[in-house]
């Protein structure tokens, strides 16, 4: 009982409560949209973190998994009317299988190969999707047929249900990260990151461990892609397979804090606020200026805070928890 009543227990519960109530406090649907996008990036950043942070393998092509999920699902939904609730899993699994050869080929090598291979993968998929336009509709993209309010087809006429689904996904991803960190795989990934030779001498198959992290990461990213397709109704190759998206996903995790449970979640919130404010400030008038600022942000983070903002956040959170009333203090 003490655990629940202590700040460690109730602060996360309060935060969760706030998150649940939050969309209803928003003045108009546009802000709810921002919340949905934040939640999606939490999922994407946390998923990237599994292989990029814990696994130490930097992917610059996670859009490959995102786009795969989006396209697999949308093609099936359009062709056979299958419910996205089902194709979500399929999209994730296809993305997972896509990640396996990449892992097998790259993880036995030491060097920048994985980063380069992932860029290549995303770009190749983008070009292939553009090329086979009879199937994929090429550059025009695919649309999800609008069916109004159809929950079994993952379509709603208000933004709120989308937000709650995204919120569930985001919380689930955070919990999955925590579970993984405490599992044998989580420990092994840390050992590999510290000293791969020593880890191997202790019986750790480093390639296999990284491949598992990548598979999980790809699966989650693919599922997010399916959700995104359903939420926005339209997907284009340049958007869902683009290098820009891959960089953004990685940036979320880096700014927040790689290799931590909540870093990417914080990074997603910061990034989305950042994106929205720069859009307000520049009002789309100066093409390129916004992204120049992101690039500058990335360089600045690398130079001055390579561990991301998570250490600050952790300290702030610790301070708050320490200064909140707890059952022990009341009795003192």
């Amino acid at each position: 009982m003490n655990r629940v009543l202590s700040p460690q227990g109730y602060v996360p519960a309060v935060i969760l409560l706030v998150l649940v109530v939050l969309p209803h406090l928003m003045p108009n649907p546009f802000y709810v949209h921002i919340l949905v996008m934040m939640a999606i990036f939490v999922v994407l950043g946390q998923a990237w973190n599994l292989i990029g942070g814990y696994g130490g393998q930097l992917s610059l092509g996670h859009a490959a998994f995102f786009g795969t999920g989006a396209y697999v699902s949308t093609l099936l939904v359009n062709a056979h009317g299958i419910s996205p609730w089902l194709t979500m899993w399929l999209g994730g699994i296809v993305a997972l299988f896509l990640s396996l050869p990449v892992g097998i080929i790259c993880f036995r090598l030491q060097g920048p190969y994985f980063a380069i291979a992932t860029i290549g993968l995303a770009e190749a998929l983008r070009l292939l999707v553009l090329h086979f336009r009879e199937i994929t509709n090429g550059a025009q993209g695919l649309t999800v047929p609008f069916k109004g309010n159809a929950p079994w087809l993952l379509q709603f006429d208000s933004k709120f249900p989308y937000y709650y689904i995204a919120l569930v996904m985001a919380v689930a991803t955070v919990l999955i990260t925590r579970r993984m960190e405490r599992s044998r795989l989580g420990h092994y990934l840390v050992a590999i990151g510290q000293n791969q030779d020593a880890a191997e001498a202790l019986g750790i198959d480093s390639s296999r461990a990284k491949a598992k992290a990548l598979a999980l990461s790809a699966f989650i990213t693919g599922v997010a892609g399916v959700f995104y397709a359903q939420y926005t109704y339209v997907i284009h190759p340049d958007g869902v397979f683009g290098l820009g998206l891959s960089v953004q996903i990685a940036l979320v995790a880096i700014v927040g804090g790689v290799g931590t449970i909540l870093g990417p979640a914080i990074g997603a919130v910061i990034m989305e606020c950042f994106i929205q404010s720069t859009q307000i400030i520049f009002a789309g008038q100066y093409p390129g200026l916004e992204l120049m600022v992101y690039g500058g942000l990335l360089v600045a983070v690398i130079l001055w805070r390579p561990r991301g903002v998570f250490p600050w956040f952790a300290r702030l959170y610790g301070w708050i928890v320490d200064h909140l009333p707890s059952p022990g203090a009341a009795q003192a």
Binding site: R184, Y188, V190, D197, A201, L202
Partner: protein, 244 residues
Amino acid sequence: MNESVLLEVEGLAKRFGGVQAVVGLSFYVRTGEILGVIGPNGSGKTTTFNLITGFYPPDRGLVRFAGEEITGLRPYGVCSRGICRTFQIAKPFRELTVFRNVLMGTLLRHPNPAAASARAEEVLRLVGLEGRAHTLAGSLTTIDQRRLEVARALGTEPRLLLLDETMAGLTPTEVEEAIRLIARLRDQGLTVVVVEHVMRAVMSLSDRVVVLDQGMKIAEGKPKEISSDPRVIQAYLGAEYRHA
């Protein structure tokens, strides 16, 4: 060879660029014994460990462990079959605690982190590091770092332990402690191969000794025989005479 042979190395050879590090090396290790491996610097001792444990594939030759051929297996495969090694230059997981370092070893046989933790505590007590369980590995003293190397390896519950110059740079008292620890491990059923330069330690610990020079085995036998073998003496003093 009889059933009491745990490890067999036959005709091992390895070349690095222009250097033949190991040539036609053959020896065996009996279950439950402590085998000492000595030789001047550059004689191929660490390379031999690397070949046995899969860090490099041999150019020729084979390695047999408990009757099974393990030549060319990757290090994690060798470890899971029961051979674990320490490194000459210690490779601790510097940013992790001593406890977590050992945990990485015990997780091999105990995938459940809770069970692995319990085992890790036992291992720490065995080597005398339980007081430092929460110290960061990177800030340990030399002797404790060596203890940690051994502890981590022990965590994997090996049948054969390969110790690479564990006693280098230790004080005489610390060497005594190390000797006692290794002897205790052997008494508990572990087979140990010890590569060392500290002659006193090797000679008092080992049941048998193998001597390497320039990648070849030049002598093999009981410590007493080895220390009076003229070929061995010449190998160690050899450099002087070779340039004369």
